[in-house]
């Protein structure tokens, strides 16, 4: 018999499709044709598979080889089909029993000497395989840790084609020593204790973490904006397993595990440079659609330093994911949806030279430049930012203090408590965070105390705030009330929220 088939998985965004890899070996001149819309990396599989087969002392059939990946209409990309093609080919060449491989999914890229290299997207591929009723999956050893997140499916980690062949021919295999599988708690490298002074910004970070309020930090260079933003994940509650799986799946698709372990429970923080493109921010790509920064920051923090330096379109492309919590990317190969529920933290200098603090004596910018600088952040985007906090330069008093500030662990306890209070309050509603309360509910069920409302209405009359700003202030005041343990926002909470708004309507 010169026909064999096995299975692999093609990924379209986060959606996996189980693909049947068929190999036919026919008489004729030596030829190799690969069918089923392969991209460049996949077309090169021929040379990798051939070298791997020859270097494993197997026989490459000098005949007409046809490899078909079906469904044929689905565009396929990447090197993860190498192993499946190799195994199906050897089976078609009658060196492996076809029954042994028919219902096994193989994932892995081959190196020329037959070692199996890691591939991206293993977790989403396993999810798809399980949905399709597959019982056994062979994954590269390097992806074993990630693969083990998937329960209820037999996962076989292999390092070399020879091991796979031995297993298929004799049933023997070294059981890969189970990698000690444990969710890793939050990492402890960064700590809020490192931040000197900055009580206002610390409070803002705590509120942002508790209520999911987006945050803009304005301050001169060196004041500690970046330091504060980088430490926000350390005060966020640990991810739930379901959330962590979502994060791992997205990072797996983009192949970016370099600085993040697949079993991490820490909220991710992604800080794209301000020269980033729109596609890098929201996701996209011509052949393979990859998730962008806003999806990699899913369930975590998206931190953009020097936000006004961003090309305007880039920041504004975040408006839709901020609203919906997902991002749908339309390309010719189809529409893909990635999750994108993140906490947005922007940092900005107050002016182009960065020295406009206090009365701005050191600033060398013209008043027009100063006014225009922050206006580069568009109105609709700023509308979604609940807090704009000025981070002033650290003074000698704060730097001279030898006692450290409050540690992340202490702050996190308050954040978790505040979130629990909010969740209990929202019991039946569809939202879970204070920042998500719809404005209708703010006017009816979730009004602060009478005096507090009077204060806000006075401000509204004086045109110090807008109606939109009023709602934002109430949302933040709910978070302040949760932290302080008030059952309903008091005048004090509302005044504090008002001051966190920075008194500026950008």
């Amino acid at each position: 018999m010169s026909l064999a088939h096995t299975k692999s998985v093609a990924l379209l965004g986060l959606d996996g499709h189980v693909v049947t890899v068929e190999v036919d070996i026919a008489d004729g001149l030596p030829m190799y044709s690969l069918l089923g819309l392969p991209d460049a990396a996949l077309s090169e599989s021929r040379d990798r598979v051939r070298a791997a087969i020859v270097n494993c002392s197997e026989i490459w059939p000098n005949r007409k080889v046809t490899v078909s990946l079906s469904p044929a209409w689905l565009p396929k990309s990447g090197s993860s089909f190498d192993l499946a093609i190799c195994i199906a080919l050897l089976s078609a060449h009658e060196t492996i029993s076809p029954d042994a491989i028919a219902d096994v999914v193989f994932l892995g890229e081959l190196s020329l000497d037959g070692r199996i290299r890691s591939v991206r997207g293993v977790l989403p591929a396993l999810i798809a395989a399980q949905k399709a009723g597959i019982k056994t999956v062979v994954v590269p050893r390097a992806n074993f840790q990630e693969a083990q997140l998937m329960q209820g499916i037999e996962i076989i980690a292999m390092e070399h084609v020879k091991q796979v062949l031995r297993w298929l021919r004799t049933g023997e295999r070294e059981i890969a020593d189970e990698i000690e599988f444990a969710w890793q708690p939050t990492d402890e490298n960064l700590d809020f204790a490192d931040v000197a002074g900055q009580p206002q910004a610390r409070l803002a970070a705590e509120i942002a973490a508790s209520g999911g309020h987006h945050l803009l930090l304005i301050g001169p260079p060196g004041a500690g904006k970046t330091m504060i933003a980088e430490r926000i994940p350390t005060i966020l509650p640990a991810l739930t397993i379901a959330q962590a799986l979502e994060v791992t799946a997205v990072h797996s698709i983009s192949g970016s595990f370099t600085n993040r372990s697949p079993t991490s429970l820490t909220a991710p923080i992604i800080s794209p440079h301000h020269t980033t493109t729109r596609v890098a921010m929201v996701g996209g790509g011509a052949h393979v659609i990859k998730p962008g920064a806003c999806s990699l920051a899913h369930n975590g923090v998206l931190f953009i330093d020097e936000a006004p330096e961003c090309p305007s379109g880039v920041l504004d492309s975040l408006r839709q994911p901020l609203e919906a919590g997902t991002i749908t990317i339309a390309r010719s190969i189809g529409n893909l949806t990635f999750p994108a529920q993140f906490l947005l933290v922007l940092a900005a200098n107050p002016c182009p030279c960065g020295k406009f603090t206090g009365r701005g004596h050191n600033c060398t910018c013209t008043s027009l430049q100063v006014r225009r600088y922050l206006n580069r952040l568009s109105g609709p985007l700023m509308d979604r930012i609940d807090m704009r906090v000025h981070v002033d330069p650290v003074g000698r008093v704060d730097m001279a203090r030898t006692d450290l500030g409050e540690s992340s662990a202490d702050i996190r306890i308050r954040v978790i408590a505040a979130r629990a209070i909010a969740q209990a309050r929202f019991g039946d509603y569809s939202w879970k965070l204070n920042s998500h309360i719809p404005s209708r509910a703010l006017r009816t069920v979730f009004q602060p105390q009478r005096q507090a409302m009077n204060f806000l209405h006075d401000e509204l009359d004086k045109e110090h705030i807008t109606a939109r700003g009023l709602h934002k202030i109430i949302r933040v005041s709910w978070t302040l009330a949760d932290i302080a343990g008030h059952s309903i926002p008091t005048l004090e909470d509302v005044e504090k929220a008002h001051s966190l708004r920075g008194g500026i309507e950008l």
Binding site: D27, G28, L29, P30, N62
Partner: protein, 121 residues
Amino acid sequence: MQRKSNQRTGAFGEEEVSKYLVHHNAEIIERNWRIREGEIDIIALYPSGVFAFIEVKTRSSVAFGHPFEAINREKAMRMQRLALGWLATHGCLGCDYQIDVAAVLIAANGSHSIEYRASVL
């Protein structure tokens, strides 16, 4: 010198393939038919009335790959044109024909093996 040796190897291979064809009841019509565009090693007629145009590749080692790998798409298309050229000049245009290839591997001890693939296009 080397070339002469290779030519001898090639001639030996063609001779052996001819014997093989006769043994399989084919009639050898012409050997080494040559025009400006190229050469057909063997032209044979099968008992079924089908003309076969045969390219023979002879190798004394597989160090440079399997003999069949030396026949690429371009070479196969040239054989197709040559075959039509022969049929046209011999008044047989419209007859059934096929392109075959044969590989002759000569082992170090002088024994040889023939691998024959019919109708490769």
